[in-house]
Amino acid sequence: MTEQSQTPSVGIVGGGPWGRALATAARRTGAAVVLHSRRDQPESDPGLHVTVDYAEVAKARLVVIAVPSSVARNVLRALGDHLGGQHLVVHGVRGLGAEELETVSDLVREETPARRLGALGGPVQAGELIEGRPSAMVIGSRFPEVITAVTRAFQSPSLRVYGTNDLRGLEWASALVGCLSIGVGYAEEAGAGPGLLAALISRGVDEAARLMAAAGCEERTMFGLGGYGDLLASIALEDRPEVVLGKALARKVPLDQAITMAKLRVEAIPLIPRIARFAEEHRVTAGTFRALSDILAGGRPQAMLDRMFAG
C-alpha cells in the first residue's frame, strides 16, 4: 500500500501558516495527513494530501481546526456535516467570543456532533514547527484518549507535547495571553523599564489567573506552559500581531491603522473590554485589563499607569 492511499490519521483544517505548520509537524512523526485548504499549497510530499472537501478531512479520526476565530463557526458548521461521535476534534484557535465569552470548543460542541474535544496551546510558534526547531506545545482535553492521540500525532524529537485536563483553562489562558501581549508591546514602545515591564507581566498573569478561577478554570493553568509560557514566547517575537499592535498604539497610531499594521486579525481587540467587564461583574481586581481597555479607547499612558496600579 502506498502512503497516499492510506487512511489519513490526522486531518487539519486551515491552509494558513498555522495549519501548514501543524501539518508539517504531524508529517514529521510519520502520520498521513490530509489538509483542508482554500489556498493552493505546494504538494511535494506524498504523505500530505491537500483538499477542499471536508469529507476527505473527516476520514481522519483526529481533526485539528486551525482557522482564524472569525470564521471558526462557519467552518465548523460545514465540517460538522461530515463528523460523528467517533471523531476527536481539537482546535488551535486563540480567542473567546466577545459577547458570551464562549470558548472555541463550545463552538465545536454547538456546531458538530463531536464530543471528544481538545485545544492546543503553549509557546510553540508556527516557524518552529516548519523548521523543526525544538519547542513545546500543550494539548488540553478532558478525554485521555484525545491527549494520547494528539501526542502520538505531533510529538517528535523536536516537539514535546504536554497534556492537561483543564481544557477550558487552556482556552482562557491562550485568549488572555493575546490580550496581555498587546499591553507588553505597548509598554515596551512607551519606554517602560525592565522593572515596570516585569510588574506588568507578573500582575497581568496573576489577574488573568484570578479571572480564570472566576470562569471555572484552574488558576494554575495560567501559571504554566499554556499561560506564562505562551506569553513569554509571544512577547519575544517582534512580528507577533498583538505586540505590533501594542507598539503602534504607543506611538499614538489610531486603532484602525494599528490593526492594519498588525496585518493579521487580532482576536484580542474586542475581547479586552469584555474581559474588563467580566472582571467587574465577578468582582475580580484586574487593573491591567482595565488599563488595556482604556488604551484601546484612546486613553493616555499616564492614566493607564494609574489604573494598572490602582486597587
Binding site: R61, R77, G80, D81, G84, G85, Q86, R109, E110, E111, T112, P113, R115, R116, R142, F143, P144, E145, A149, A214, G216, E281, H282
Partner: protein
C-alpha cells in the same frame, strides 16, 4: 399502563440479575484485601458511631473479626470472603418487588390520600385494590406537563432514565403517580433505606423501587454493587429513576451540581447492549417536581442554615415521618389547584443529543448521530471505558442542570417569597444572610405595595418564560398582584406550623424569614432572587438581561 414493561417480569429475572451483579463485582475487584479492608474500616466506624441493637452489635463483631483475620488469610480465602460479602450486599440491595402490589402502589397517591383522610379504609384497600379512589380526583391538584405523548412512544423504543429534581420524600411517590398519569411504564428506583424505615412512607416504598440504597454505608464495594446493579437493570431494559441531586435540596434551590455516579452507569449499560449485539438505546428525561409548599421545608432549611452546606447527610426524623404533618400536607394539596406540578423535559441521549420519539439522536444542528459512535475506539470497536464515560456524564450533568432551569415551574409561593425577601434585604441593606434572616416579624409591607412588587417580578418572569428560560403557569401569568399574594398566604397558612406571612391591619407582616428564604431560593439559580446558595465552585447567578423597557431597570433596582 404498559403491562409488558420489563419490570413486570422482574421477579422471574431477579435471581439472574443479582447473580450477574455479584459475579461482575467480584471479577472486577482486583485487590480483595484492599476492598475488604476498606469495607471493614468504614462499616466498623459507622456501626461504632450508631446506636446498636443486637443485630448491629452482631454485625459490628463480624466486621471486627474480619478486619483482624484479613492479614492472615491467603489469596484464595480472601477471594472466598469477598464473594460472601458481595453476595450479602447484592441480595440486600435487591429488595423485594411484587408486581401485584406494584400495580396498586403505582397508583399510590389515592391510597395514601384515602388512608390519611379515612385511615380505616386502608385495611380494606390492602385486601382489595379495586377500592382505589379515582385518580381523576387529583387531576387538577397534581399537574403533569411536558412532551408526554413523545415519551410514551419513546418508552417502547429504548430504556428511560428519569432524572427529576429532588425536594421532598414525597417526590418518589409523586413521580410514580406522574408516570402513571402520563401513561408511562413504571421505573425502578434506588430508594434510600431510611425511607423503608420511615413508618409512614415504608408501606408505600416497599414495592415502589426494585432496590434499596443505604446511604450510611460508605465503602467502595457497596458503591460498586449499587452501580453494577443499576447498570444491569438498564442493560436489560428496566426504566430507571434517579435523583441526581443525591439528597433533597436543603436550600429549596434547583440543583446546580449533580452526583454523577449512578447516571454514569447508563453509558456502560448502553455499550454492553452493543457488545452483546442487541442494541437498546438509553435516554434521559430531566424533570422538575414543583411544590406550592414543601412537606419538609422547615427541617430542610433549618439544616441548610445550621451547617451552611455541611448538612446532616440523612435526616431520619423530619415531617415525612410524622403522620400529622403528612396528613396536613395532603389536605393542603387537596385543597389547592395545581399544588404540585411535575414537568417532564425534552429527552436527551447520554451524550447530550436530543432524541426524537423513535429514539434517534440529533446534534444541535439537527443532524442525526449514531450514539454508538461515541463509545467506539480508534479501530471502530465498542469499548467500555469508565474514564471516557465519566467525562460524557459530566457534560450530561451540565445539560440536565440547564434543563432544570428551563423547566422550573414558578408557583405563587416562590414569587411572593422572593418579593417579601427582597423587602427584608432592603430593610437591612448591608446585612449578610443571617442579619437579614434575624428580622423576624419586624417588617410590615402594605398590601398594595407587596402586590406591586409581585407584579413587577411576575412580569419579568413572564419575559424569561417567553424566552424559554423558565415556566410560568396560567394563574400566575394572568392574576392580579393581590390575588397572587392571597393564594400564597392561603398555601402557607393551612400547613406551616407557625405563620409565614401574617395579615395585619397595616399590611403583610414578614414573619418566618427562614421559610421565605427557602421558597425564594427556587428562583435563585435564575438570578431572579438573592443567590447565596450557589454550590462551591459555581459563581452566583446574576439577574438576567431584560429587553422590555422598564424591566431592566426593575431588575437592577430590585435584584442587584
Amino acid at each position: 399502563m404498559q403491562d409488558d414493561a420489563p419490570i413486570f417480569g422482574f421477579n422471574a429475572a431477579r435471581e439472574d440479575i443479582v447473580r450477574t451483579v455479584i459475579s461482575r463485582v467480584v471479577l472486577s475487584t482486583k485487590d480483595p484485601l484492599l476492598a475488604l479492608n476498606d469495607a471493614a474500616y468504614h462499616e466498623t466506624k459507622r456501626l461504632e458511631a450508631t446506636k446498636r441493637g443486637p443485630e448491629e452489635q452482631k454485625e459490628l463483631a463480624e466486621w471486627q473479626r474480619l478486619a483482624r483475620a484479613l492479614g492472615r488469610m491467603d489469596d484464595g480465602e480472601r477471594r472466598q470472603k469477598l464473594v460472601e460479602v458481595v453476595d450479602h450486599i447484592g441480595w440486600d440491595v435487591a429488595g423485594n418487588f411484587d408486581p401485584r402490589v406494584f400495580k396498586v402502589s403505582s397508583k399510590l397517591l389515592p391510597p395514601i390520600v384515602t388512608y390519611l383522610l379515612a385511615p380505616r379504609t386502608l385495611v380494606r384497600l390492602a385486601r382489595d385494590p379495586r377500592h382505589l379512589v379515582s385518580l381523576s380526583a387529583l387531576d387538577d391538584k397534581v399537574r403533569v406537563e411536558g412532551p408526554v405523548e413523545e415519551l410514551r412512544e419513546l418508552s417502547r423504543q429504548g430504556t428511560a432514565v428519569y432524572v427529576p429534581t429532588h425536594l421532598s420524600n414525597m417526590d418518589s411517590i409523586v413521580f410514580g403517580y406522574a408516570l402513571e398519569r402520563a401513561g408511562l411504564p413504571p421505573a425502578t428506583y434506588g430508594a434510600g433505606k431510611n425511607l423503608f424505615t420511615n413508618p409512614v412512607l415504608s408501606f408505600f416504598m416497599h414495592n415502589l423501587g426494585a432496590y434499596r440504597v443505604d446511604r450510611r454505608v460508605r465503602h467502595n464495594l457497596y458503591k460498586d454493587v449499587l452501580k453494577t446493579y443499576s447498570c444491569v437493570l438498564l442493560e436489560r431494559g428496566y426504566h430507571s429513576l434517579f435523583f441526581p441531586g443525591g439528597t433533597r435540596s436543603r436550600s429549596g434551590g434547583v440543583e446546580r451540581r449533580l452526583k454523577l455516579g449512578l447516571m454514569g452507569t447508563a453509558i456502560e449499560a448502553y455499550a454492553r447492549t452493543l457488545l452483546a449485539n442487541r442494541e437498546r438505546r438509553v435516554y434521559f428525561v430531566p424533570a422538575t417536581i414543583n411544590y406550592l409548599i414543601t412537606l419538609e421545608a422547615e427541617t430542610l432549611i433549618a439544616d441548610f442554615l445550621a451547617e451552611a452546606g455541611k448538612g446532616r447527610f440523612i435526616i431520619e426524623d423530619d415531617e415525612s415521618s410524622r403522620l400529622g404533618r403528612v396528613t396536613a400536607f395532603m389536605r393542603k394539596m387537596f385543597d389547592m389547584q395545581g399544588a404540585v406540578v411535575i414537568r417532564f423535559g425534552k429527552p436527551i441521549d447520554p451524550f447530550g443529543n436530543v432524541v426524537d420519539e423513535r429514539c434517534r439522536s440529533f446534534d444541535r444542528r439537527g443532524r442525526e448521530v449514531d450514539p454508538a459512535s461515541y463509545v467506539k475506539d480508534e479501530s471502530g470497536r465498542v469499548t467500555l471505558d469508565p474514564v471516557r464515560d465519566a467525562q460524557y456524564t459530566r457534560e450530561l450533568g451540565d445539560e440536565i442542570c440547564k434543563a432544570y432551569l428551563r423547566d422550573t415551574v414558578v408557583l405563587e409561593t416562590h414569587v411572593v417569597a422572593a418579593a417579601s425577601f427582597e423587602r427584608l434585604r432592603r430593610a437591612s441593606p448591608a446585612g449578610d444572610l443571617f442579619t437579614v434572616l434575624r428580622q423576624r416579624d419586624v417588617v410590615v409591607v402594605p398590601r398594595d405595595e407587596l402586590a406591586k412588587d409581585v407584579v413587577k417580578l411576575r412580569d419579568r418572569l413572564v419575559e424569561l418564560a417567553d424566552r424559554g428560560e423558565i415556566v410560568v403557569g396560567g394563574f400566575l401569568r394572568t392574576a392580579s398582584g393581590g390575588d397572587i399574594v392571597e393564594r400564597a398566604l392561603r398555601a402557607f397558612a393551612g400547613y406551616h406550623a407557625s405563620p409565614v406571612l401574617a395579615s395585619r391591619p397595616d399590611g403583610i407582616a414578614i414573619v418566618d424569614t427562614n421559610l421565605l428564604f427557602y421558597y425564594q431560593n427556587r428562583l435563585a439559580a435564575h438570578g431572579m432572587a438573592w443567590d447565596v446558595i450557589a454550590p462551591p465552585g459555581v459563581p452566583p447567578a446574576r439577574p438576567p438581561v431584560f429587553t422590555k423597557p422598564g424591566a431592566q431597570e426593575a431588575a437592577q433596582g430590585g435584584l442587584s
